[in-house]
């Protein structure tokens, strides 16, 4: 058998890891159910904490949605790395004769998939609960761009946090200050779409998200080797 080229090798390994995570999740449904229930609880809490009557709702909807997503996202990121660590799967992955970057991309894509699934369920629910139409193409694009940036940094940092004694507490403390630009840009872009602002007022925020995504995926790709190096 001829050895595959580095790119196809990386891609195959990444795909295998994504597949492993999705299969494990399909069988246990631990992560998604926890993230989903948690997301609903956050929305419920906001409903009463902010007194979401029709008037305030319009101005805070994008904020409520994004805080819900990043909280649920943190939960997922923590869990996804913790299972690897606790059951010794991480050592197995590290022993496999694959490029280490494949582990990063595999975990990141699987985490992104979980986050997008949660978002795909929260969206229609929120639409029904508050009678707003969230299914705007621009808004969906914002959600994808924002989640990519959040998960790109989150996967990197959660693989560090999981090795620490205080891991569950540590991840949000490491992650939130660094991903603040994602939160700000995503909230502003979503609010722009929801209130029907002209496109030229939204594009700068989308540009910022794209720039963040590109920079931090590149950085994570470069430094991930140092995190899993033993």
């Amino acid at each position: 058998m001829s050895s595959p080229s580095p790119i196809t090798g990386l891609w195959q390994a990444t795909r295998a890891i994504v597949w492993k995570d999705l299969t494990a999740e399909r069988r246990s449904r631990e992560l998604l159910s926890a993230m989903l229930v948690f997301a609903l609880l956050v929305i419920l809490s906001f409903n009463f904490a902010l007194d979401l009557d029709p008037k305030t709702r319009g101005s805070v909807a994008s904020g409520v949605l994004w805080v819900t997503f990043i909280f649920a996202g943190t939960l997922g990121l923590n869990r996804s790395m913790a299972t690897e660590k606790d059951r010794g799967c991480l050592d197995g992955l590290l022993l496999a004769p694959i490029d280490r970057s494949a582990i990063y991309f595999g975990k990141a894509i699987a985490n992104l998939a979980f986050m997008l699934i949660v978002e795909a369920i929260v969206f229609p629910l929120y639409s029904v609960l508050y009678n707003v139409n969230l299914f705007l193409p621009g808004l969906l694009l914002t959600v994808i761009l924002g989640s990519v940036g959040y998960v790109a940094v989150g996967t990197l940092l959660s693989s560090m946090a999981v090795q620490a004694r205080t891991r569950d507490m540590l991840l949000p403390i490491l992650l939130f200050p660094v991903t603040l630009p994602v939160l700000i840009a995503a909230v502003k872009a979503s609010a722009g779409y929801l209130s029907g602002l002209p496109l030229e007022e939204i594009t700068p925020w989308l540009n910022l998200l794209v720039v963040y995504d590109v920079i931090f995926i590149a950085i994570a790709f470069m430094v991930f080797d140092f995190i899993v190096e033993e």
Partner: protein, 226 residues
């Protein structure tokens, strides 16, 4: 551990001298601002402290990169030293800024991009120390800290940009909205910046020596327990 090198002793003396001279210039040489009065004098050390804060975090990110590239423990020591100094001076910057803002803006705090960015930076580097303290293995701790110093520092410009855009969607042209400084004020300002930069170098050197000493004590202790 070798005794304090002569160059460092000279630096100690020089920074003390420069600081006193800068203080003298602030109060004796620079004119008192007409509308703001005496409180404007905070400005010279406020900007200098924030400059040293930024410099510290920049040095930490560069040292982090060098540690990852070379793996020499020296760069890890430099990195912690720089982060510590950066944290302390950014805090000085925030507090001195608040003292100025209270009479001038009539509030201790506003959600201005610079203020928020410095605060987010403080949070990032507090998280940096939490990460360090959570990891036992020294080698792994150094690697993770280096990664976080780099990731954290790179997010700062984007944070600043996003908060600045948050206020107004229109592109902001980088202009100094401040009134032009009087020549004597400008000279005092540049001198304070210089004095603080020398102070930074001195503190960094001391802190690096302290870090190396700590590592040496650690090694000796390991030898004893073996």
């Amino acid at each position: 551990m070798k005794s304090t090198p002569t160059a460092l002793k000279v630096l100690d003396f020089l920074s003390a001298l420069l600081l006193v001279a800068a203080l003298g210039m602030v109060f004796g040489y620079a004119p008192t601002e007409r509308t703001m009065g005496l409180v404007q004098k905070v400005f010279y050390f406020h900007v200098s402290a924030n400059w040293v804060g930024m410099l510290g975090f920049l040095v930490a990110a560069v040292a982090g990169g060098l540690y990852l590239a070379k793996g020499t423990p020296k760069w890890d020591v430099v990195e912690i030293a720089a982060v510590e100094i950066g944290l302390a001076f950014s805090l000085i910057g925030i507090v001195s800024g608040s003292i100025w803002a209270r009479p001038i803006w009539n509030t201790w705090w506003t959600w201005d991009p610079r203020l928020v960015t410095v605060t987010v930076m403080e949070l990032i580097y507090i998280a940096y120390f939490m990460l360090r303290s959570g990891i036992e293995d020294p080698d792994r701790r150094a690697r993770y800290a280096a990664v976080y110093a780099i990731v954290g520092f790179l997010s700062v410009p984007l944070t600043f940009l996003s908060i600045r855009m948050y206020r107004s969607i229109h592109p902001v042209v980088i202009t100094s909205t401040k009134a032009q400084l009087a020549p004597r004020m400008f000279q005092t300002f540049m001198f304070s910046l210089f004095a603080f930069t020398v102070l930074f170098a001195t503190l960094l050197w001391h802190r690096v020596r302290l870090g190396q000493l700590t590592a040496q004590v650690e090694r000796l202790r390991m030898k004893l327990t073996d």
